[in-house]
Amino acid sequence: MRDKTAAGRDASRFMPSRFRLGALATAATYAMGAACARATDLLGQPTPGGYDMQPAGDQLKRSVIFFHNDILMPIITAICVFVLALLIYVCVKFRKENNPTPSNFTHNTTVEIAWTAAPVLILMFIAIFSFRLLYAYHDMPRPDMTVKVTGNQWYWNYAYPDHGAFTFDSLILPEAKANAVGKPYRLGVDNPLVVPVGKVVRVLVTGADVIHDFALPAFGLKTDAIPGKVNETWFKADKPGIYYGQCSELCGVDHAFMPIEIDVVDEPKFNAWVLGHGGKLNAKVLGGGGGAAPAESPASAGTTMPAGTTVGPSTAAPAAMPVSTAVKPPAAQTTRPAKLTGATTSSASPDSGG
């Protein structure tokens, strides 16, 4: 069911959501002009004048967009239109010129029960989809590889524990350089995070000094990088490309200047890139995915999802991998354990899971 929906949305991602959101957009004076000015949304970065969510680069974000655009937006738009219509009706019908003598009623049990029960039902309906999405986020499939992300003032440090534990820093490109290489200024970086397409990438996120946030809209990623704590998230990119995100937790004066760039490449390219950085190839990743990248296949991407949709919250929870256990490093990570494991002791508390 979900897979079908997702596939349908994948095919018709652009037009329907445009029309649906158009209803909302008319509320803003400028909206339609902007819509006409724009041909299609860019993948992996914001679109000039855009008013929709960025197109999805993985299955999770596709689920977010489905939930937001197809479930929430129609409901909240209907509620706003309903309230506005009531207000306009009341203001016209019962203005003092039209209704000089006010009535005096103060109770009506039927409508009071109705306007209490109706929101409850609507919210229960929303909650079904909401919990599905939430548990899908926390139901990571078996990861194909792990990257460790460390937020610093004001750059990101990336480590590949599965591939020889090489690390490097990723800094914003200065304007001239960004223009020279054709990357958008304030989004492009010198050394992007490079991952293979169609692989489940586990991301361990921590902070070195203050709290940062590793966020990338196209993959629906947003995870706080907190000193002394390792958070976990994951993504599985649909297709190769360059995807941009930005630090999303106020971290000081250059908060706006530590963007995130993830380059998704096919596996041979990824392997070459790893070797070029002095890393080692890992059998688990190399050839482990079984040939052609499942890039364009929402169905196969969808296999990561249904677990969270069918099992109840209590059974899904263990699968959500509390950080304290998830952090137990894969073999190669023993090169950097001191900081990680030492720092994570505090996150064993029950309030800090996935």
Partner: protein
């Protein structure tokens, strides 16, 4: 909903309009600086809030001007801002302005206006009391707030670490507020918040005592006007939540200065613990900002519909429910910190529940208007604007309550749009509704209806153009608290800044309205709104006598 009848046994005691001139008013300095009169203190609070609101609004102007186009134009060396020199023209200066805008608007504009101003002035009158329970404590509440504001302003001129002032946001998360701001500026912010917190706690104690012990004969809890109910719920939230903030910032004070490690991971502390403490205060705080507005809107809507409030008890207990549930939803501000997934599911569900009592209030206001005889005076315009805009802000709150969707919206402009719809367009519209509603009563002069309506329409159009495009920016992923942004976000930022200009024009009309009424001095009448205005303040002269209700009014259940 209830009416008052006087029983004056002793004619030698002055009361009511006819004797107002015989009131013994102290000299200017004693009256305004040592004031123990709840109405004078209320006026002081209102004037303070207007002043703070203009400063906070000017700061938001700096933000909008900076964000008008990509690149850093204002907060950079050599700009006009650097020539003025009050605010540091740097990226740190931008963060300081964002922080100060939030703190000033929350602690020194909305709270003083609603609770200190309207609450002080009208709660005693509405329950038929001569004054607040502790008049001197009332005085120190106000002056602590002034001291607090001065300390906060001082922090702007003091070294913060990365530059002048504290730029860690109003949420003040450590470690950015500890190792990230090593200078004394943040210690001043802590002191300022401690003073403001003490001021509010004293005020809360005062209101609780007044409302529970000083109601006139016959003024039962279930006959209290809804504004009194709203203030009662609000001050309970204050009393229970502010000590938690005080504790959290005191712990940080010792982290910064005395070597403790409450929030320092290197010493075994936990930065996330601070966020729990902060939001345990912070979430009730946002209801503190809006609840008195709910009360005022009920009065305005009932008065100008010439109809009693629909579902009085449901309205009162909806506010109580919002207050109670408001204490158990705090971690919905923290979906991205790595909470256990089941906790996130709980906080999502609990947060959604708040939509139910809020929906009851929205529909009850509309039902109050239904069948009424509506007069579109300025306060009513603001109230109707409030109802619709609060609905818009409310439904985006339902969107954000879903943790899975919040992963995409957290810390983006979508959140900024959401909370400005409920606060800047909700709370502030409620304040303006109350301000115009009680203008004659408080200041003793009439406002100009044309200027009031012009103010409303400019403001209504302006703030919508400021904040509606922020939904689009947030959906596209623009993070908050950014001094500079990728060019893709330029269009809607430009629109938003244009909207700010319209809003400024609206505020200018508001100031003209104040000046016009002060110059013309059209004499106020006791009740300008007719038989829709039923609460006790309309039985007194405008302005009310210096001491009202020397003989307690007797309240009878009538028309309720």
């Amino acid at each position: 909903m209830s009416t008052a009848t006087y029983s004056a046994h002793d004619d030698t005691v002055p009361h009511g309009a006819a004797h107002a001139e015989h009131d013994h008013k102290p000299s200017f300095f004693v009256r305004w600086f040592f004031s123990t009169n709840h109405k004078d203190i209320g006026l002081l609070y209102i004037m303070f809030a207007i002043m703070a609101g203009l400063i906070g609004g000017a700061l938001s102007g700096l933000i909008r001007l900076e964000l008008a186009e990509p690149g850093i134009q204002i907060f950079t060396a050599g700009s006009w801002l650097s020539k003025i020199g009050i605010i540091e023209a740097s990226k740190q200066g931008y963060n300081v302005v964002v922080t100060a805008h939030a703190l000033i608007m929350i602690f020194f504009m909305v709270m003083p206006a609603m609770i200190g101003g309207f609450g002080n002035f009208f709660v005693p009158i509405m329950i038929g009391a001569p004054d607040m329970a502790f008049p001197r404590m009332n005085n120190i509440s106000f002056w602590l707030l002034v001291a607090s504001f001065c300390v906060l302003c001082t922090s702007l001129f003091v070294d913060g670490g990365p530059g002048r002032g504290f730029g860690g946001g109003w949420t003040m998360y450590p470690p950015l507020s500890t190792i990230g701001h090593t200078g004394p500026a943040f210690d001043l912010v802590i002191l300022s918040l401690h003073l403001a917190g003490a001021s509010s706690i004293l005020g809360a104690i005062n209101f609780i005592t007044t409302i529970f012990n000083m109601r006139a004969p016959g003024m039962t809890l279930h006959r209290m006007p809804l504004f009194v109910w709203s203030v009662l719920v609000t001050v309970f939230l204050l009393l229970l939540s502010l000590p938690v903030l005080a504790a959290a910032i005191a712990m940080r004070l010792t982290d910064r200065n005395f070597g403790t490690s409450f929030f320092n991971p290197a010493g075994g502390g936990d930065p996330v613990m601070y966020q729990h403490l902060f939001w345990f205060f912070g979430h009730p705080e946002v209801y503190i900002l809006i609840l008195p507005g709910f009360g005022m809107i009920s009065h305005v809507v009932a008065t100008f519909s010439r109809k009693p409030v629909f579902g009085y008890l449901a309205m009162a207990y909806a506010m109580v429910a919002i207050g109670v549930v408001g204490f158990v939803v705090w971690a919905h501000h923290m979906f991205t910190v790595g909470l256990n997934v089941n906790l996130q599911a709980y906080f999502s569900a609990a947060t959604m529940i708040i939509a139910v009592p809020t929906g009851i209030k929205i529909f009850s206001w509309i039902a109050t208007m239904w069948g009424g005889s509506i007069d579109f005076k300025t306060p009513m315009l603001f109230a109707i604007g409030f109802i619709f805009l609060f609905t818009v802000g409310g439904v985006t709150g339902v969107v954000l309550s879903n943790a899975g969707v919040d992963y995409s919206f957290q810390d983006t402009y979508y959140v900024v749009a959401h909370f400005h719809y409920v606060l800047s367009l909700g709370a502030v519209f409620a304040i303006f509704a109350g301000f115009y509603y009680w203008y004659e009563k408080m200041w003793g002069v009439k406002y100009n209806e044309f200027l009031g309506a012009t103010h409303f329409w400019l403001m209504f159009v302006g703030v919508n153009i400021v904040f509606f495009p922020m939904h689009f920016l947030g959906a596209q992923g623009m993070p908050r608290r950014y001094v500079d942004y990728p060019t893709a976000f330029a269009f809607w930022n430009r629109v938003s800044t244009d909207g700010y200009m319209i809003t400024v024009a609206g505020i200018a009309v508001f100031v003209v309205m104040l000046a016009e009424s002060a110059i013309r001095r059209r004499k106020a009448v006791a009740n300008p709104w007719g038989d829709g205005a039923t609460t006790l303040e309309w039985t007194l002269s405008s302005p009310p006598p210096y001491h009202q209700f020397n003989d307690l009014p007797v309240i009878e259940a009538e028309g309720h």
